[in-house]
């Protein structure tokens, strides 16, 4: 859930399926999922489209909305701290449970009502993040301050954070092409949560998670991700178990361009 400053390579398309299983007190557990299409428009701009849905056990499976996300690299070169601007437009309903980020006063009980009630509430939100990320001796440390605004004028600005650190299990590549080499695995830990809103900023009535995470990059451009988020207070889900699988298609832009008559 924490972003570093690295963008998709220009012309590459990454397609990802990501699933979040969440426990729910005073309600039914759920499995929320999204399809993500991430395209490297240029070396400084990555654009992503999310299509999300969820299954609430003993209730129903519903479509919950879309997100359009853009990340812009601000500086041409690497620095100690590298800033990237993140702007996302969300068109979702209140039944959306992917918990991609926890904002403002989001708490577990918000997700308890049945889908039939939640889906009636539509949200159009603008979400902005400043992705600050630093890489040193194989470690990447990232901090994402988050601001969200529901586009209804009466709704307040909401605040949130995500912070994480990760490192490959080996820093040197082995000479052989291998799936299980240590350098293909990245381990990390992240923490994310809400910080209130403009009407009542602070930590009261907010939820927070601590999540160890692991990614496995295969040489065949497949990536598997696994993360288990543990709620840190009574307002949080006890467990958010996430897993995802993605495939990168290098040269997708070139291929599509040729389809529309661009020179090879």
């Amino acid at each position: 859930m924490t972003y570093d400053h690295y963008l998709e390579e220009p012309g590459s398309l990454e397609v990802e399926y990501f699933s979040t299983f969440g426990t729910q007190r005073r309600g039914n557990d759920f499995d929320a999922f999204w399809m993500e299409f991430e395209y490297g428009a240029t070396a400084w701009w990555t654009s992503e489209l999310y299509i999300a849905g969820q299954t609430t056990f003993d209730d129903s499976t519903i479509f919950t909305g879309t997100r359009w996300e853009n990340r812009f690299r601000l500086l041409q070169r690497e620095h100690i701290v590298n800033p990237v601007v993140y702007i996302e437009f969300e068109n979702t309903n209140a039944a959306d449970k992917i918990v991609k980020e926890v904002e403002g006063h989001d708490v577990e009980s918000d997700y308890a009502p049945p889908n039939g009630i939640l889906r009636k509430e539509h949200d159009h939100e603008l979400e902005m993040k400043l992705l600050l990320s630093s890489t040193f001796k194989g470690w990447n440390v990232a901090l994402n301050p988050i601001v969200t605004k529901n586009l209804l004028p009466s709704e307040p600005w909401e605040f949130a954070y995500a912070v994480g650190a990760s490192r490959p299990l080996a820093l040197k590549a082995s000479p052989d092409r291998c799936n299980l080499c240590r350098e293909n695995f990245i381990a990390g830990v992240e923490m994310y949560g809400g910080l209130g809103d403009t009407q009542s900023a602070g930590l009261h009535d907010t939820s927070h998670y601590l999540a160890p995470a692991m990614a496995w990059n295969l040489p065949s451009d497949w990536t598997f991700r696994l993360s288990s988020g543990f709620g840190l207070n009574d307002n949080s889900h006890r467990l958010l178990l996430r897993w995802g699988v993605s495939r990168e298609f290098a040269g997708f832009g070139e291929l599509l361009g040729q389809l529309f008559g661009a020179r090879p």
Binding site: D4, Y6, L7, E9, P10, G11, S12, F37, Y39, G40, A41, T42, A43, W44, W45, S47, L49, I51, F63, T66, W68, R73, Q76, R77, E78, T135, K137, G138, N140, P168, L171, K172, A173, S174, P175, D176, R177, E183, P219, A250, G251, G253, E254, L256, G257, A262, R263, P264
Partner: protein
């Protein structure tokens, strides 16, 4: 307005989302193509301009020593990394494509290891080359070692030097020359 509802209402929410997603995807693609074209134009503004970024490496960075210099294992590992991360733009023979410059030219082959490392770390974002600092430092040095090994291989192979590693992917070429050695 009536026409709008007549057309879109039967499609339902998912249909509208699908159409919206397609329109959005084409919009992003069209803009990225236009931006990519202007980056290409600046990249191909002349041979010197193509490699201008090489001269921007600070003195301190240029002087950095390659800890894997002459290490055959590092060449092999660097070759693997090249195939995974670089061949798409620079060509599987490192001879360049529309999206990436040739790495067999003197500007690259005569550059210091530190300069190559600096370029890998910082990219040339304005010309479309992403930063590669996400690869750990030792992996970037392995890539530098591989790139520098191309010079030696080309120099030792006169028939192929005129048309660098002609027709043979770098890895096949290296495997052949390794086995000869």
């Amino acid at each position: 307005m009536k026409l709008f509802f007549a057309v879109f209402r039967p499609m339902g929410c998912l249909g509208i989302v699908a159409i919206g997603a397609i329109v959005l995807a084409f919009g992003v693609f069209a803009i990225s193509q236009a931006l990519g074209q202007s980056e290409n134009d600046s990249r191909h503004h002349g041979k010197k301009a193509k490699y201008a970024a090489m001269t921007e490496a600070p003195e301190k960075a240029r002087e950095k020593r390659n800890p894997f210099e002459g290490d055959a294992q590092a060449v092999a590992a660097g070759g693997k990394l090249f195939e995974q991360h670089c061949a798409e733009c620079h060509g599987e023979k490192a001879g360049g494509t529309r999206h990436g410059v040739s790495l067999l030219r003197d500007e690259v082959q005569n550059a210091t290891p530190g300069t190559l490392f600096w370029i890998l770390t910082n990219g040339v974002v304005r010309q479309g080359m992403p930063v590669w600092s996400k690869l750990p430092e030792p992996e970037r040095w392995q890539l530098v070692t591989f790139l520098q090994s191309l010079r030696a291989k080309l120099a030792n192979s006169p028939p192929l030097a005129a048309e660098p590693v002609g027709g043979i992917p770098v890895f096949a070429y290296l495997a052949v020359t390794h086995s000869i050695e």
